[in-house]
Symmetry: C2
Subunit: 399 residues, 2 copies
């Protein structure tokens, strides 16, 4: 069995009346919510400092960045994206943005806002940027940095991060490799040092299993050096050099950290290591397979190309003839919250998150509810049987 049953059962209890299966925020396990609700500690209290220190340390361990600087500030993934660019690149620096959806496009908007010179390499909708595409793009011009979206939450696609980083390293070894891990970190493997990644950024409300409210960055040595090479950055709160003393030794003050969320983060990261990162990644793969096999029986087809599907969420075309709005409402009324497509994909696809601390039980709940909602009295349980069979193949049991 992959995934400890305590993890799943406590989540089950945590979600109360509705199961939140959108691609973030995700259901938060009860023990994490309990940590969140502990009496607020002072930011210099030894107990809090110990939690903060431990969370910073675990974050590094999670991505194997031996000499990286972890940065945890109140904010969102979008702030982390902005911090990644503004701390490493001078104005007008040329950067290449690899995009396969809304969040790669957002990276470009942020880069434009910061006055960077942006080129992009773009995957077709439902595809991921390939090593070959990237290779061609890198032949055109020298870049200070390349940004990669590991998983794009709008299309459900995942790039082959290791391969892309390898291409960049081979062709432009000086270029920084900046990775948006918002819908990936904690749910799929990311190895900074082994894969030559210079920076990974994330939000708290995705595969880490926390509520939203934290921006997280893990900053490798070359990205740290890039910041030091900048005379100034045009932001105060977003300047990680101002935060550095706190991140190196949390017994200090720059701006008040989000104490309760940091305590909860320490718990969430502890759960990752209790389960084991590899087991956790396998659980995410298994959940994805179970969900997709079950919903395929009902006519849902993956929007993401098969070879690029992310394990953390599924972006699925609605079965033909199904009224998207009605389906989402019916699911909601039956206790399952899933999301519509965003941007151009609104009304075309649904997006179902399956990341963090959920397990087979939640996957089967989604499939069962979809089957009943779509099939009515004619539902014959074939979707549930398919999902169960797929989960059993992967070793992810129901309880």
């Amino acid at each position: 069995m992959i995934g400890r049953s305590i993890t799943m059962s406590e989540t089950q209890e945590a979600v109360g009346e509705r199961l939140l299966m959108i691609p973030g925020p995700v259901p938060v396990a009860e023990s994490i919510r309990e940590a969140l609700a502990q009496p607020t500690l002072g930011h210099r209290d030894p107990q809090f400092v110990a939690h903060f220190r431990s969370a910073l340390h675990k974050l590094l361990r999670l991505v194997d960045g031996a000499d990286a600087l972890p940065v945890i500030v109140a904010g969102s993934g979008t702030l982390a994206m902005e911090m990644a660019l503004l701390n490493t690149l001078p104005a007008q620096a040329p950067i290449l943005i690899a995009t396969q959806g809304v969040f790669g496009d957002r990276m470009r908007q942020i880069a434009d806002t910061l006055g960077l010179e942006t080129d992009e390499v773009r995957a077709e909708m439902g595809q991921a940027v390939t090593p070959e595409q990237l290779q061609v793009a890198l032949q055109q011009r020298r870049y200070n940095a390349v940004t990669l979206t590991h998983v794009d939450t709008s299309t459900g696609t995942m790039v082959d991060l290791r391969a892309l980083a390898g291409v960049i390293k081979a062709q432009q070894p000086e270029a920084l490799i900046l990775v948006d891990g918002v819908c990936a970190t904690g749910g799929v493997p990311e190895y900074m040092d082994a894969w030559d990644i210079d920076l990974i950024l994330a939000g708290s409300q995705k595969a880490l299993g926390l509520p939203p409210g934290l921006a997280l960055l893990i900053v490798g040595p070359r990205a740290q050096a890039a910041r030091r090479a900048l005379a100034r950055v045009p932001s105060y709160y977003g300047d990680w050099e101002r935060w550095r003393p706190i991140m190196e030794n949390p017994d200090g003050y720059f701006a008040t950290p989000a104490t309760n969320l940091v305590v909860a983060l320490d718990r969430a990261l502890a759960m990752i290591f209790e389960e084991g990162p590899e087991a956790r990644f396998a659980r995410h793969e298994a959940m994805a397979r179970g969900l997709r096999r079950g919903l395929a029986e009902l006519g849902f087809e993956s929007f993401a190309a098969t070879e690029h599907q992310a394990p953390t969420l599924s972006v699925l075309r609605y079965p033909s003839g199904v009224d998207a709005g009605q389906l989402l409402r019916d699911m909601y009324n039956q206790g399952i919250v899933i999301a519509d497509g965003i941007g151009k994909l609104a009304g075309q696809v649904c997006r179902i998150g399956h990341m963090g601390n959920i397990g087979a039980r939640e996957i089967l709940q989604v499939v069962d509810t979809a089957e009943r909602v779509l099939g009515g009295g004619r539902a014959n349980g074939s979707a549930m049987r398919a999902a169960r069979a797929a989960l059993q193949e992967t070793g992810l049991s129901e309880t």
Copy 2:
């Protein structure tokens, strides 16, 4: 009796082993922590949208800003300070910064970072900027904006906000009036429209009684217009124009809001209106008086000049002969967390917060503990008697 007993007793329970009496973070009432720990809602869930809408509305009501735009984002007070400047002022714009401590100085650092032309008018340590000082400063040059720190957390001083705003309005009616309310909003009166204030910014972990993690701004019509007059601002996450559609109608998406903290904020603001803002402000005055009268018996003297003392915290010189570090440790070991001075005042003063949802019981706990710690066997209860008498004069009963 000022302040409902339920508020205080639930806080009492909430703080567990130690009572957090630093000037932020503050003890968080149990009902607010319960709201914080509710199962995480999707950011488009009607339940969440209702909480967000309600919190935004209540925030406006709190400061009487009829046509203001409330902005609530994951962050800290420092981010709110930065957003106040970057959204209203073009690069190189001249601004006047009124400072009476570390947080006015921080505003200047932020302004420098953003490339503004900063002049300052500075109060002596322990004093607050006066209308006369401001009047002189405003005669030197025309400014796009003047920033005021309502309460400076480093010195415990409060400006006469209404009078200062009146001076600015009379002398430079075009200048924006930007107020740092971080240690004030929710604990002392601030009336935007009546006092001609263009913007108030705050953090969540002070007089509002929440854990840290939210940056709050209330943006009046002239400050909104100033943003619209800017071609661009050099930030993406911090650009309130990008957030505006969400703040006008939270049923949308820009970046994921800190859902659990927003639900808790809605609860915290509801508590303010259940108590009544005027009663709440009076309670803060009463707590300040009780604490100071009690500690005066032990030899603590106010660092802030009497006429400028803020009701939300007390910055007090240690009694002569007292080892500051030892006192703080002894208090901590006895269950009371208070803070040392910051910056130049480290080791010279202690800082005691008394804001949010605490009451007479917590004030007396601090006084009692200080009396026992300092007096040992010779403590005769005179500090407690003085504090009790002061609280009774104000009508703030013990339970």
